[in-house]
Symmetry: C2
Subunit: 457 residues, 2 copies
């Protein structure tokens, strides 16, 4: 309608979608723009990567979520620029005019200046990433089954996860369950339980966002599951047969044919672009440093939320890149827009920390809700409950619940499809000795050498 306040939201993740939903009764016309046609529940993406759930189980079509909001339209489009003077978002194939703009394009994988690692050590950000990692994991066991050379077989059965935040820990725990339970008895030449799962962390401890006693508990749980957490280990090179690391000033090598990257993300490129157009500042990770009301300095009509925003006003350091932060910011910005239309300005954004959760394995998790710290079965149930509740779509909740129940009782993982291009032959045609080969046993020794040691970054 003519004269109506137009809100453009860039990105249909936790932040953008929550903003769109919060604006459903506001006197505005909302346009939600995303390059994908679906919302992805990223906290469960590691379960797709490990064959427990299918991509469809943790996704919901964006336009279907906002179908009943008659003031909202959804565009499958790619934003390439911002014309902040004319208040336009430039799409690859058009443009969208706004009165208020919410940029919530999230984060992308970050390889710290080693973009070539992306091919060697896939990370977990998109559905395609998840199915690619799933392929790598299950293909590694298949290759080990076919491989006559015991050394190469051991390389196939060694999995290195780089980065021990919640994603790394959850992947390690799931991989342990795959090796020890889901695949047990499936193979004839190998025993899947021989698989080694290494969890590498450059910092001094795993799960650094949790309190030290929960870190210690999580570490014990992981070790009990057969995962080897290695802290103070900085990866310096990755190739097709493993990685090189530095620990305590020494250099070492780990032979592992499957390396998974869980070490870091940075803000999506739209952050830097928006900063260029508005003169705003970005931090080292490319996040836009925002005002107390989450707007861009000098542009009160432009808001940046979620992983793309650096909001230092509350704690001095930026808020973490978590779904609850993005969701609360999405709702807050919707309120600011509504309030301003009525001539008011609400108080600064305040993040209500509802706590942190990380699951390690069956009946093993850690949770921190303010001063309350949970571990074991209780934390695990809290994790299950929170993730089921926040999953988008009632049907998704039911289907995921059914699958989790089956997985709990049968240890089976249904969705372990190896899809897409598969590099057959799996078996190396002949043993090729190169300079980079690790000596037999080096893997275990090196790992033992650094295990448990702590070192500052």
């Amino acid at each position: 309608m003519l004269g109506e306040h137009r809100v453009v939201i860039v990105g249909g993740g936790f932040g953008g979608l929550e903003a769109a939903k919060a604006l459903r009764r506001a006197p505005v016309k909302t346009t939600l723009i995303d390059r994908r046609n679906f919302f992805l529940f990223q906290p469960l993406l590691y379960q797709v990567a490990t064959g427990g759930l299918s991509p469809g189980d943790i996704s919901a079509a964006l336009r279907s979520i906002v179908r009943k909001q008659k003031n909202t339209e959804t565009l499958l489009a790619e934003v390439v620029d911002f014309d902040v003077a004319k208040r336009k978002v430039i799409l690859r194939d058009g443009e969208a005019e706004y009165d208020s703009l919410i940029v919530a394009s999230g984060s992308v994988l970050h390889y710290f200046g080693n973009p070539e690692w992306e091919r060697l050590a896939p990370g977990l950000k998109t559905v395609e990433d998840a199915t690619a990692i799933r392929k790598r994991i299950f293909l590694a066991f298949e290759a080990a089954e076919r491989e006559p050379d015991p050394e190469i077989r051991r390389e196939w059965l060694t999995f290195a996860i780089v980065g021990a935040g919640p994603t790394g820990v959850e992947l390690a725990g799931a991989l342990s369950e795959i090796a020890n339970d889901s695949l047990k008895g499936d193979f004839r030449s190998i025993d899947s339980r021989e698989a080694q799962i290494l969890l590498l962390e450059a910092g001094p401890r795993i799960l650094p966002a949790f309190s030290p006693d929960l870190t210690a508990k999580a570490e014990r749980d992981l070790i009990r599951l057969g995962v080897r957490p290695l802290v103070g280990v900085r990866v310096t090179a990755i190739d097709e047969r493993g990685l090189t690391y530095e620990a305590d000033g020494r250099t070492g090598r780990l032979a592992a044919r499957t390396v998974i990257w869980a070490a870091g993300v940075r803000a999506s490129g739209l952050g830097r672009l928006l900063a260029e157009r508005t003169g705003a500042k970005t931090d080292r990770s490319g996040r836009v440093i925002v005002e107390p009301d989450l707007s861009v300095p000098g542009y009160p009509e432009i808001f940046v939320i979620g992983d793309l925003a650096n909001y230092p006003h509350q704690t001095g350091s930026p808020l973490p890149g978590l779904a609850p932060v993005a969701m609360q910011q999405g709702r807050y910005v919707a309120k600011v827009i509504e309030a301003r239309l009525k001539g008011r300005q609400p108080p600064a954004f305040h993040y209500l920390d509802k706590g942190s959760l990380a699951t390690i394995g069956r009946e093993k998790a850690v949770a921190e809700f303010g001063r309350i710290r949970l571990t074991g079965r209780l934390a695990w149930l809290a994790w299950l409950f929170v993730h089921l509740m926040y999953l988008v779509g009632f049907e998704n909740r039911v289907v995921v619940f059914v699958q989790w129940a089956f997985q709990y009782f049968t240890f089976n993982r249904r969705a372990r499809l190896i899809t897409g291009e598969v590099d057959i032959p799996l078996r190396t045609p002949a043993r090729q000795t190169t300079d980079q080969d690790s000596a037999p046993g080096a893997n275990g020794c090196a790992a033992r050498g650094v295990a448990g040691e702590t070192r500052k970054r």
Copy 2:
């Protein structure tokens, strides 16, 4: 073990898997070889292509299915040749020796001498095919939503399915439900119900394997769902904006940006290769013509089953490429191998026709069990029951049942993810007029011109 009878099975589809399972207590060592690590329940693949189910829901890891059969090993490998003199299957990365060989590598899409159509009109044979078609379907609606030119928009909203066997009919019915129910209200610029779904058949009637009265009933049902069945229409060319056809000696053009191929398959290339190595004969579709015990003439130790076999002994014409045929043949061949080990030879293979089923839409299906012909709700329930029962894995059955129940009541389709590379921009930058353009309205007129007419192939 030394001296044990080695059975090699090539292909883990309905036939090969059934043979492996039937041999579980036989005094043999079975090796099941497949290029994929999972069994795919192909009869429900069209539901993945139309966003109703996820690939994981209709798949099961092959080695997990035969996990408890200690006499069975599974190899993820590609067969490239047969050495029938030395009784060896040649893999891309090794070989497998056999005493008995069962070749069950199935069928592949067949474009009748037009391989370039594969890119333009994807068919439905693999999981990747299904997700590619799913992408095409849902992207077409997204593109229509973004498209300002009404003619191009109509092209995006026109879907042509080539081939009106069960797969074509099931796809057409599902597409109609997507357009009329699942997507209703999701869009702002288009009404998804404007979509046109054309079902093209070169022969004189749809569902030619069913009796004529069931064809007539199915045709009425399809028309009621908004599908336009066009019979006696032979496709002569396909391009990115539609297809050219011949009907009644006249040439016509249909503008449709989404063309799906359901017109035919031929035997996998291993059939011809095996025929070359053994001197066996193949038919026009590349199927190996087998003996009454399903063995290859002159090679009693080599069996060919399922879609790869031409078995004319029972009815004069080859048995159809259906799951029940493959399964019965798999079990039969297992029995022959066991009997021969005891010095016996069982009677010739006899196919027990349990009937045919095709679903059209909710509470609409046709079924033929010998003389019993069912339509409507009863046939639909029979279809649901049979497909749930034959689905591999109890968990798959439960999860699929839950999703069907939701779909029945909510009309929603959860798994409508557009994944993989997406060609953005969706919108055509400027209107390009080419010689191949159909005149406005040509689409509808041409379709009306041939609808309902019958013509021999």
